[in-house]
């Protein structure tokens, strides 16, 4: 296997910088390697962060896929067709009732009295768990 020094992607001026670790360099890797993805799409000093999954998928969508090609976003499961069952936020049992004041679901009278005594942050917490916090009042 030929040595890596000739096949470097980037000249050694860019070897210093955020890539080098303070620890002694490990022998089996090329010490002058720079990730090309780290600069982002723009070759400049501004974009220093990695793309996250959403950005990667957004740019992948723009590529010329055919209709039936499998790709990361085409294999997302479809939304459910069946109506969701309602469970109590407090105990997890089947909930037949909803508290109109806090919109929490409950199944027994004891749970109702428990709900009415909850502090508001706990109430918001339960709703956020179900993603039922409403932005529009």
């Amino acid at each position: 296997m030929e040595a890596m020094s000739e096949n470097k992607m980037v000249p050694s001026d860019f070897s210093t910088g955020p890539m080098e670790k303070a620890a002694r360099p490990l022998p089996f890797k090329d010490p002058n390697f720079v990730h090309s993805g780290h600069g982002g799409a723009v070759a400049g000093k501004k974009n220093r962060t990695w793309k996250n999954l959403k950005q990667i998928l957004a740019s992948e969508r723009a590529l010329p896929w055919q209709l039936n090609d499998p790709n990361y976003f085409s294999i997302d499961a479809p939304p459910s067709f069946k109506p969701a069952k309602k469970y109590s936020d407090v105990s997890g049992l089947l909930a037949n009732y909803t508290d109109p004041q806090s919109k929490l679901r409950f199944s027994t009278i004891e749970e109702f009295s428990y709900i009415r005594r909850l502090p508001s942050d706990v109430v918001t917490g339960y709703l956020a768990l179900r993603k039922a916090t409403s932005i529009v009042p």
Binding site: M1, K29, D30, H38, Q66, A77, K85, Y87, S91, L129
Partner: protein, 615 residues
């Protein structure tokens, strides 16, 4: 750390194990790694755990993967210290103190932060004993996500080929490797794989040994979402223990105390009944220490403590008085000596001494001597008094208020204890309170227990009913039906004969029964199906990849060599029985900081989206 519960027979009380990972040793590669051909390295790159090891040929297939560590890294505590650098996986020990500083290269199940991926690879190579200079001289089998985005594969190939100089790479899907391991190798098999990992759950139909990627489906829920859900549920139920309910502890509850109900609604009805609840609730005992609560000290103990403090203070004062007495005595002696000089008539020495002492006349000296001697007398008297009082204190069992009051005026004269005065004045009124307050006795252990009842079935249920956490996607059962409906009936029949469950999130007790029940509901009346769980759902992907590597060592059609990477771009993939489907779309080469120099260095072209030929 964890204190067992009290006197009553404790049913279903479990302490938290709170395991700390031991740091991995740097292993020697050993003779296995240096055969005639370079031995492949198998790396199962998972978002929860990375598993790495050698694929050694030979009669003994080898033990478990040599390295298994959490795929996280974090800087050591105390911010960015110079030398330490980020630590990886098991070198971190316990994850909880660093929870907010943990970084993972993964975003969902795709590695996006290749710098952290580089750290993980460094760690793996270093601890496996890779010692070749300048490059890693072994072929690598690496797992990737189902339908891995081309960008991510490009980044990964770039890292492997350019940074580590790996000769050839094969990418595969972990669930397919696991399938490969569990099926007899002679058969070309078809089946339906349900693979549930840390971040997402896949349903993968395999036809004629090859993945049918167009009909795969992925649900974005897995072990981590279940752990976070369980953590939030417990924190909302026990707001007082918010900090003690850590993610590591909820993962422990999930792994050891949760199960999947075969019929969810029926199981919930069972939990309604209080007896069933009592029998089956798991009370997780949080570690606690009784010293934290001050009210456990009875008031007698408090008094004892105060007495000790008083005694100590008195001794301190006595010592100081004696020292001062000594100093005064010495000074008095010196002055008397000077006075003698005067009386003996040695005027010159007398005057010199006076000047040293900063005094002008013999009368001043005289008055000073008188003051000092009276002070010395007083101090001696006070010491005697204090000793008498101390003896009185020691003889009696409780300090009575008259003693303290007697002490107080004598102590007030001494300047040194001015700071102790407020303490003393505080002490007296409290000592006067009656001692007979009884502390309420309650079971401290019970206060620190988390009752995990229906949460045992609620948390793992989210992959079947994502509406529990507000996700709109369909659950495993409905998606399974959707996938099956995309095939004609005979293919459905074929697929259903071989349903294979794999992945760490499939290890709940009752999972197999649940899948069987769901299949029974959706299949036609009196049709048959077969469900099989992987022999080791967590490690089978690694074992499968190793077996595959050993079987395909000489097969050039499945390894991507460095030359091919350079010619065909980073997104290039060679298909094999356990890989993704390759769609030949050329990604524009990412421009790095010096785009001109790079373009000249590489052989392949750099720009534009490629032609889209059908695969």
């Amino acid at each position: 750390m964890a204190v067992a519960s009290g006197a009553a027979p404790a049913v279903n009380v479990f302490p938290f194990r709170d395991v700390r990972a031991a740091p991995d040793p740097v292993l020697e590669a050993g003779p296995v790694a240096h055969g005639p051909l370079p031995v492949p390295l198998v790396l199962d790159n998972g978002s929860f755990q990375a598993r790495a090891g050698w694929a050694c040929p030979g009669p003994d297939p080898g033990p478990e993967p040599r390295l298994q560590f959490r795929a996280v890294c974090a800087r050591g505590r105390g911010g960015a210290r110079g030398g330490a650098g980020p630590q990886v996986g098991n070198a971190l020990g316990s994850l909880e103190p660093l929870r907010w500083m943990l970084r993972s290269p993964f975003d969902r199940n795709v590695p996006v932060n290749l710098e952290l991926q580089e750290l993980l690879l460094d760690y793996s190579f270093q601890h496996l004993g890779v010692s070749s200079q300048g490059c890693v001289d072994h072929p690598i089998v690496l797992t990737e996500a189902v339908c891995n985005p081309l960008y991510s594969r490009q980044m990964m190939s770039e890292l492997l080929f350019e940074c580590y100089g790996i000769p050839k790479v094969a990418y595969g899907i972990d669930s397919l490797f696991s399938f490969y391991h569990n099926k007899p190798k002679s058969l070309i098999s078809s089946g339906l794989i349900i693979s549930s990992g840390y971040q997402c759950t896949h349903i993968l139909p395999v036809l004629e040994g090859r993945l049918d990627a167009r009909n795969c489906k992925r649900i974005n829920l897995g072990g981590s979402q279940a752990a976070v859900y369980l953590q939030r549920l417990l924190q909302l139920k026990y707001p007082g223990h918010l900090a003690a309910i850590t993610l590591s502890r909820t993962e422990e509850i999930l792994h050891e105390h949760s199960y999947i109900a075969e019929d969810y609604v029926e199981e919930l009805q069972k939990w309604r009944c209080p007896d069933y609840y009592e029998d089956n609730v798991h009370k997780m005992q949080l570690p606690f220490s009784s010293k934290l609560l001050g009210s456990t000290l009875t008031s007698e103990e408090k008094q004892e403590r105060r007495q000790q403090q008083l005694r100590r203070l008195q001794e301190l004062n006595a010592r100081r008085r004696e020292e001062k007495l000594q100093l005064d005595q010495e000074r008095l002696d010196r002055l008397l000596y000077v006075q003698e000089l005067l009386e003996e008539g040695q005027m010159d020495q007398f005057h010199k001494a006076l000047m040293e002492l900063n005094m002008d006349s013999p009368e001043e000296l005289q008055s000073y001597i008188q003051k000092l001697s009276s002070a010395v007398e007083q101090a001696k008297q006070k010491i005697l008094q204090a000793e008498v009082n101390l003896e009185v204190d020691v003889v009696e069992s409780k300090p009575e208020t008259p003693d303290l009051e007697q002490l107080e005026p004598s102590l007030e004269d001494v300047e040194n204890i001015n700071d102790f005065e407020p303490l003393f004045s505080e002490e007296t009124p409290e000592v006067e309170k009656p001692v007979a307050t009884v502390q309420p006795v309650f079971n401290l252990a019970a206060y620190h227990q988390l009752f995990v009842g229906t949460e045992r079935i609620r948390a793992p249920e989210i992959i079947f009913q994502p509406s529990l956490i507000g996700e709109e996607q369909a659950g495993v059962a409905e998606t399974l039906q959707y996938v099956l409906d995309r095939y004609p009936k005979d293919v459905q029949e074929l697929l259903v004969q071989n349903v294979f469950l794999t992945g760490g999130n499939m290890m709940y007790p009752g999972m197999k029964g649940r899948i069987e029940k769901e299949l029974l509901e959706m299949r036609p009346f009196q049709s048959s199906f077969q469900v099989q769980l992987a022999s080791n759902p967590v490690l089978d992907a690694w074992y499968g990849a190793r077996d595959w590597a050993l079987d395909h060592l000489d097969d050039e059609d499945v390894w991507i060599t460095r030359k091919e990477y350079e010619e065909k771009g980073g997104g290039y993939l060679k298909e094999h029985c356990a890989s993704n489907v390759y769609v030949p779309i050329r990604l524009p080469k990412q421009a790095s900081r010096s785009s001109e120099a790079q373009a000249s260095g590489k052989g392949s072209g750099a720009s534009g989206g490629g032609a889209s030929e059908q695969a």
